[in-house]
Amino acid sequence: MELTKRDYDLPDSKGHFAEFGGRFVPETLIPALDSLEEHYLAAKENKLFNNELNQLLKYYCGRETPLYKAEEISKELGFNLWLKREDLNHTGAHKINNALGQILLAKKMGKKRIIAETGAGQHGVATAAVAAKFGFECIVYMGEEDIERQKLNVFRMNLMGAEIRPVSSGSKTLKDATNEAIRDWVSNVENTFYIIGSSVGPHPYPMLVRDFQSVIGKETIIQFKELTGLPLPDKLIACVGGGSNALGLFYPFLPYDVEIIGVEAGGKGVNTTQHAATLTKGEFGVLHGAASMMLQNEDGQVTLPHSISAGLDYPGIGPEHSYLSKSKRVKYKTATDDEALDAFKWMSEKEGIIPALETAHAIAYLKQKDNGISKNEHVILNLSGRGDKDVSTVEQSMKKKYE
């Protein structure tokens, strides 16, 4: 069967996805971004670079990750649910795909001091791991509140030799960790490589992170066909914070006729002020180097988001998601803290898979009444990470709930 395919070739040469994206950073960073872009575009076409990355993805990371039919949940819901098992990657989430790609670029560019920001700690752990492997210095900026709720990941990063710098400004979460990482980069740009963990930031980062993560979707296309004999699934679902796991799955499917749904963190409800539903409730603006949608007040100050999951607790979103939302190519929905907690338990009980709280938001969407999923459809959900890091948060929430 011939597939219908539409062209999709964003971003443009200046890093814009229509009005989104671009480079909104101090002039000091421009030479570094130019140089990064140049090295990346060369590496992308370079056989040796790609071979090295593919070997690492296979033998260090454990790729390819399985596409797994969740039989029990499929039976319960009456459609076919496929899980792309990114939780089975080394370090426990999709983040390592991008960290490996970027550290190879750092090596190429001769920069041996690595900095990163982290929210849930998954990107921090992935970066700490690859930095340890390559023998590079690694500094991870992390909000004080996140350090508290992600103790396990802090310990893992320390074990692998990373230095954690607690961030006490603003919301004490991912937004402020990102500010501090950017300030560090502005001050040490000559010898430092900033490994950004999501498809956010100034061009070329959103493109580069998306490309490194798109191994998820590329594998999925082949696996789905092999397993079902069908050309394409009906729907794709992933959770969206900054949006890298979602774009990793979605991007290779964008030219095809597949319905795509991103699920944002609805926190305590999108009609409260306590959520992180950037596309659902946000406005156009500039944050962390890119034009995109963001949560802000009437004075243009960035407002504090809320989500039970540290990885989604972010007031911005990658510029490409803003574009995909505006162009209506991807639908964006929300799931609340409570729905995510229920989904966390449900997936654990039904399939014996403990998902990350971030991922649990995408899982929660499966149970929403108006989700538009029809009987017998094939739905692929990106199981972006495992939930070991979240067990104490979930334990506390359950205690509260049943007290």
Binding site: P26, E27, P31, G170, F284, G289, D299
Partner: protein, 257 residues
């Protein structure tokens, strides 16, 4: 000719004082600006506080955070500017991050600046590659878009940036954020003479400038020195912040009496 263009035709030592609007008190802006001018500031750069000031070190971050808590916003800043303009004819530039300007509306922002007698605008997170519209609109209203260059900006880009800005550029003294330490004078000299050679406009230098000696030295190699973090630090937690500002600005100008 606007006030900035005029000031930078004068060949003499110039001190540009940065103040955060709404800091330390919501309504301290006017008195602080006017006392800085009384004490010898040749130009004022007034910062619009932002929740996420990427290019700023801890001192200015703190002043931004405090001013926002005080209740400052762009509407209030424009009211304050209106009153300030009635009492001084020194050049005033606004410095703000791009998000707030977008939120106000780029066009409206620039025309409001025009009607309130603002002479220049600096947007630290708007580099050359994104600055086309901003520069075009500003120039059409006779406001100077003050673009920035850094020590790692290439010669070619220094020329491009200065041409695009047309009136004045702001040279960041160091690779870093506001309030960082300065690099060696030898290194600085090489950098500043590179700008002198490749810039088609006058340029002022800022970041890490703290003393009269610094101000004098930078004026030898550029067209003006900006002092920001050092003065914000001086007025931090002072009840008598007006007098602290006055005596510090006088010292920066070399008037100790």
């Amino acid at each position: 000719m606007n006030r900035i263009q005029k000031l930078f035709t004068e060949k003499r030592e110039k001190l540009i004082v940065y103040l955060t609007a709404g800091y330390p008190k919501l309504n301290s802006t006017k008195d602080l600006v006017l006392s800085a001018i009384d004490s010898g500031a040749d130009m004022i750069e007034l910062g619009i506080p932002f929740s996420d000031p990427q290019a700023d070190g801890p001192v200015i971050q703190y002043s931004n955070e405090k001013a926002i808590k005080n209740g400052i916003n762009l509407g209030i800043i424009f009211d304050q500017l209106e009153k300030i303009r009635q009492e001084t004819s020194k050049p005033i530039a606004l410095m703000g991050y791009y998000n707030q300007i977008l939120k106000w509306g780029l066009n409206t922002f620039i025309s409001d600046c025009k009607s309130l007698g603002v002479d220049g605008i600096t947007i630290p997170d708007l580099p050359l590659c994104e600055a086309n519209e901003f520069c075009k609109l500003s120039k059409s209203m006779n406001i100077s878009p003050i673009l920035l260059v850094a020590p790692n900006t290439s010669n070619e880009n220094i020329t491009k940036i200065s041409k695009k800005a047309a009136d004045l550029i702001y040279a960041v003294s160091i690779i870093g954020i506001t309030g960082n330490d300065l690099s060696s004078r030898t290194e600085l000299k090489t950098y500043l003479s590179r700008i002198r050679k490749y810039s088609s406009t006058p340029f002022m230098v800022g970041f890490g400038i703290r003393s009269h000696n610094d101000v004098k030295w930078f004026n030898e190699y550029s067209d003006g020195a900006v002092v920001g973090s050092a003065i914000i630090e001086k007025i931090k937690n002072k009840n008598d912040y007006i007098n602290s500002a006055r005596s510090f600005v006088k010292k920066l100008k070399g008037n100790h009496g």
